[in-house]
């Protein structure tokens, strides 16, 4: 009986066990797994026939054809392999805000997705944007890695700010392999998220962007004459909060999320907007399922 991690409740885990990750692309895996691979191999799913050449495994000879045609024909089956699931978390200081904090929420989400992956014998790697190019995270595989995975997720803390572009670039340099990448971030990068996301396109990974914002960002409960200080770069914006200003903020926020969604869709990136107030179970079992990330 595994220890109940604080991130995920047992009931939630039980539900997650019935899910699996979905990728729209087929990748080559490393070890035999549950997923179709481009490689031919051993499975129950027929793919093709070919002539026997010495050295082939005799167990794969089609004896029925030999009896009928007197030829040694080998039956080819589709190989089922594992999936590389990369979970990329934005752990910048801006993720600290909100109740629960966006980072906490992101960690829960990452743990949930990783759990699904591990249960389905996918290879799971959890990294953060602030990680150095040389610092690799361990790869988890199999149900037995759940505990380690959770510990790693729990260990993720706030990191110094790094531009999103650099973070994604480092990630891509570290992980040459293709797979499913889930980026959980608030996309609040003053230099823009566009160049960062283009790295995923170039790397031909199946990318999901979960745009996570806190309730405080969606509808700020502030008033009066304020000096807003950016927690990351200590940038200052002086405002006098008024009703019209808040309305305009809402409009700007809407434009921001719409632009991000449009950008992603145009480049084949799956985009999903998430709010830290949505219960995790609902997010995974309802929203992510509708988006096609899990089933």
């Amino acid at each position: 009986m595994p220890l109940t991690p604080p991130l995920l409740s047992p009931e939630f885990l039980a539900r997650l066990e019935r899910m699996e990750l979905v990728t729209r692309k087929v990748f080559r895996g490393r070890v035999k797994g549950d997923r179709r691979s481009k490689r031919k191999g051993q499975s129950v799913e027929f793919s093709d026939f070919r002539n026997y050449v010495p050295g082939d495994d005799l167990r794969r000879l089609d004896w029925n054809l030999y009896a009928r045609l007197d030829k040694l024909i080998i039956k080819l089956f589709l190989e089922e392999e594992d999936l590389h699931l990369y979970l990329l978390l934005d752990a910048s200081r801006s993720m600290e805000f909100g109740v629960p904090s966006k980072l906490q929420y992101a960690k829960e989400l990452a743990a949930a997705l990783a759990f699904i992956g591990l249960v389905r014998t996918d290879r799971v790697r959890i990294e953060t944007l602030g990680q150095a190019a040389s610092q690799r995270s361990p790869v988890f595989h199999g149900r037995s890695s759940v505990q380690r995975m959770i510990r790693q997720v729990e260990g993720i803390g706030l990191e110094d700010s790094i531009s999103m572009d650099d973070g994604v670039k480092n990630f891509c340099l570290r992980n040459r392999g293709r797979g499913l990448v889930v980026l959980i971030s608030d996309l609040m990068d003053k230099q823009g998220y566009e160049s960062a996301l283009r790295w995923f396109v170039v790397h031909q990974v199946d990318c999901y962007v979960i745009h996570l914002l806190s309730q405080e960002e969606l509808s700020p409960d502030i008033k009066g004459d304020l000096k807003l200080i950016d927690c990351e770069d200590q940038d200052v914006a002086e405002i006098t909060v008024t009703g019209p200003l808040l309305t305009r903020y809402q409009k700007a926020l809407h434009v921001f999320t719409r632009d991000a969604q449009e950008f992603c869709i145009r480049r084949g990136i799956q985009y999903m907007f998430a709010n830290n107030q949505i219960p995790m179970e609902q997010l995974v079992s309802h929203h992510l399922r509708r988006r096609g990330l899990v089933r």
């Binding site: 801006s94 807003l228 909060v241």
Partner: protein
């Protein structure tokens, strides 16, 4: 006080006040203390602020809205401190008497509605000329405006004055009543008499001290507070001497224009031609009250038909006369009309027409009782006298006869002249007694029966109609009675010895007594000369006057000028004879007046008691019964022809004309102010007090500061609203 703004602060106070807006702006330049707040990212906020910079001008304006509003509040408060205001026609005082001139000259149409504004503007009290309101309309408008400005604790009365004074509305604080009374004021054709109006106003303003006793305590019930007297007139009247204003505080508000031009008929009379018997002459005098020579045409209408017309050239500010000669005209209505020349604006139309009523000449009846007096008989036989009266002559013995007794009781004669004799009983008509004292107690108890020798005439009443144009300085008298008239009488000629000619009333008649005989008789009975008077020109003139005054009344001048508002006296003898003419001239009953009154006489008396006067506007008035020997008719306010009627018979006509140069000269009297240099309207003088003509507005300052402070309060509330609603970024 008359400036738009009034300074209420000293310079250092202003300096402090001036610092307030500066401090306000200074505060805005200070950095607003903002509360620091850490946020995940200022990314979106910066994008917002960048959007704002696109229309930063309006943003700044909106940002400064509060500052602007606050500056506006301070500005309004500062403006309120300057006490902005304006002058307004308002009233000062509690009680007002409006004296409105409604004389003929107030009908002049030389004023405009907004005239007083221009007068206020140029500072002089002279109105501008040129439009079509009448002066009375404007005066009423001025009073109406003042009534509008009255508050409920003010009271006012309205008096109109012209020939007669009328209280249109006694003191009231009911403005509705005042306005209604004001509407009822109509122009009259009368002359201006301010004094009566002043006396009336004074009666209201200076009541005698009256106390009332209630519960053993005395209260002063008369209000001795000052009363504002506003005289709205064109100033065409003489100064009022010897009048004390008392509580009255007069203001003279001149109405009219000094340039008002007018052509007027100022004289119209008719009389039989001096040279041609049977002709009648009409004299018309026209005055030009303008500064340019004028040519005008005078039409003469008789009974509605044009009979003559003539052109007349009148020098500037001059007069010119015309004489029309008519044929034999027994009676009729004569109308002279002045045609206004083109290009001439005649501001007063009332005096462009004048009427004359020509009545059939009624001769007076004179009875001369004399033992024989050739100079006297000659004097009474002149053509002029015969035109006025028919003179009958009787000898002294006639007085003893019963016929005289009858005549004395009747009204057959208008005048009896007793020369060197006296009747036992005075007749019921006017008398002239020569050389005797009348048999009346009142005369005899004072006059001496003795003759005084050689009295020298030292003085005579030249103003009396009997002595009109009479020169007595060269008259010498041998001896004469000294005549002392009874109470109410009047000495007409005084000599070194005492009075020798006197007149005194007797009931409705008048008795004249001449103390000396003209032709006397000595003890031997032979005729001698008592005076050289018959050789003087004054002798026939005196008897002409006697006949004219005592026998014919006004008949001699058959077109007497009556001024509007004047009381017209109508001698009963004239009316009686007129009525008698209509009654087929039958006087037989009168000659036998001791007989029992016949039905005819009754009718006649009844008719005489029911005389009517038809006014020019065709309304009818009853002529009141005669008093002091004359019928008197007062209601002559309108210009035109008046008819006296007995039933449907027309007995007499008389005309009422303006014919008053002082009313027709409608120009405001002006003089140049020595100090100011511009022309000002003449002041009027009331009992040694000169009342300068005032500009029509009584300046009262209307302050704005309350409104400004109220506006500042409203702006402050808007500012508060803006601050809390945050309708800016």
């Amino acid at each position: 006080m008359d400036a738009l703004l009034t300074n209420t602060l000293s310079p250092w106070q202003w300096a402090v006040m001036g610092l307030i807006p500066l401090a306000l702006i200074g505060l805005y330049f200070l950095k607003l203390k903002r509360q620091p707040l850490e946020v995940p990212s200022t990314h979106l906020w910066h994008r917002l602020i960048e959007d704002q910079h696109v229309n930063s001008f309006w943003q700044k304006l909106r940002q400064n809205l509060l500052l602007l509003l606050q500056l506006l509040v301070v500005g309004l408060a500062l403006l309120a401190l300057l006490r902005p205001g304006w002058q307004e026609n308002a009233l000062m005082g509690d009680r007002f008497i409006f004296l409105i001139d409604n004389s003929a000259s107030m009908s002049a149409t030389d004023v405009t509605q907004g005239r007083d504004n221009s007068a206020e503007r140029d500072g002089s009290s002279l109105p501008a000329a040129g439009s079509t309101w009448s002066r009375l309309d404007l005066a009423k408008e001025h009073v109406a405006r003042r009534i509008d400005h009255m508050t409920s604790d003010m009271s006012a009365m309205i008096i109109t004055f012209a020939e007669h004074t009328q209280v249109v509305q006694p003191f009231t604080n009911n403005r509705k009543k005042l306005r209604r009374a004001l509407q009822q004021i109509r122009p009259s054709a009368g002359r201006t008499h301010l004094r009566a109006a002043l006396e009336l106003a004074s009666g209201f303003a200076n009541p005698a001290r009256i106390t009332s006793e209630e519960d053993g305590q005395e209260y002063d019930v008369t209000d001795q507070s000052p009363v504002e007297l506003l005289i709205l007139s064109d100033g065409r009247f003489n100064q009022v001497d010897g009048f004390s204003l008392g509580n009255l505080r007069p203001q003279f508000l001149p109405i009219g224009s000094p340039e008002a031009s007018n052509l007027a008929i100022v004289g119209l009379s008719t009389r039989p031609s001096e040279t041609h018997v049977g002709q009648r002459q009409v004299f018309v005098q026209v005055a030009n009250f303008s500064n340019q020579e004028q040519r005008t045409t005078i039409d003469l209408n008789l009974n509605g038909k044009l009979v003559d017309a003539a052109e007349l050239k009148i020098a500037a500010n001059g007069r010119a006369g015309l004489t029309f000669t008519l044929g034999q005209v027994a009676e009729g209505i004569l109308r002279a009309r002045l045609e206004t020349p083109p290009l001439f604006i005649d501001r007063l139309a009332l005096d462009n027409v004048a009427y004359a009523a020509m009545n059939p000449i009624q001769k007076g009846q004179v009875l001369l009782v004399t033992p024989g007096n050739p100079p006297l008989e000659l004097a009474l036989a002149t053509e002029r006298v015969s035109r006025l009266a028919k003179v009958d002559k009787q000898l002294v013995e006639f007085l003893q006869r019963s016929e005289y007794q009858r005549l004395a009781k009747s009204n057959r004669y208008d005048l009896m002249i007793f020369d060197q004799c006296v009747p036992s009983q005075m007749p019921s008509c006017n008398t002239l007694t020569i050389g005797r004292i009348p048999p009346l107690q009142s005369w005899q108890e004072k006059s001496s029966d003795k003759l005084s020798f050689a009295p020298h005439i030292v003085d005579w009443q030249r103003a009396h109609p009997l002595l009109n144009l009479i020169e007595l300085g060269n008259v010498q008298i041998a001896d004469s009675h000294m005549i002392h008239p009874p109470l109410g009488g009047k000495v007409l000629v005084d000599s070194t010895q005492g009075p020798i000619l006197a007149i005194a009333p007797r009931n409705q008649f008048e008795d004249v007594v001449l103390g000396f005989e003209i032709v006397g008789h000595d003890e031997k009975g032979s005729r001698n000369v008592n005076t050289n008077w018959p050789r003087r020109y004054s002798f026939p003139n005196f008897f002409l006057n006697v006949v004219q005054y005592l026998a014919s009344g006004d008949i001699g001048q058959d077109s007497t000028v009556h001024q509007p508002g004047a009381s017209i006296g109508l001698p009963p003898a004239m009316l009686r004879s007129m009525l008698n003419d209509h009654s087929n001239g039958d006087l037989s009953w009168e000659k036998n007046s001791d007989l029992a009154p016949t039905q005819q006489k009754k009718d006649f008396q009844r008719k005489l008691e029911n005389l009517n006067v038809i006014l020019p506007n065709a309304t009818q008035r009853t002529l009141p019964p005669p008093q002091y020997g004359k019928y008197v008719f007062h209601e002559t306010y309108e210009l035109g022809i008046y008819e006296v009627r007995a039933g449907k018979q027309r007995l007499h006509r008389f005309a009422v004309n303006l014919l008053d140069p002082s009313e027709s000269d409608i120009r405001l009297r002006v003089s140049t102010d020595k100090v100011a240099g511009y022309p000002v309207v003449h002041s009027i003088s009331i009992g040694y007090v000169d009342i300068a003509a005032q500009v029509h507005s009584v300046p009262i300052r209307q302050d704005l500061w309350k409104g400004l402070l109220l506006a500042a309060l409203v702006v402050l509330m808007i500012e508060w609203h803006v601050y809390h609603r945050r309708v800016y970024v």
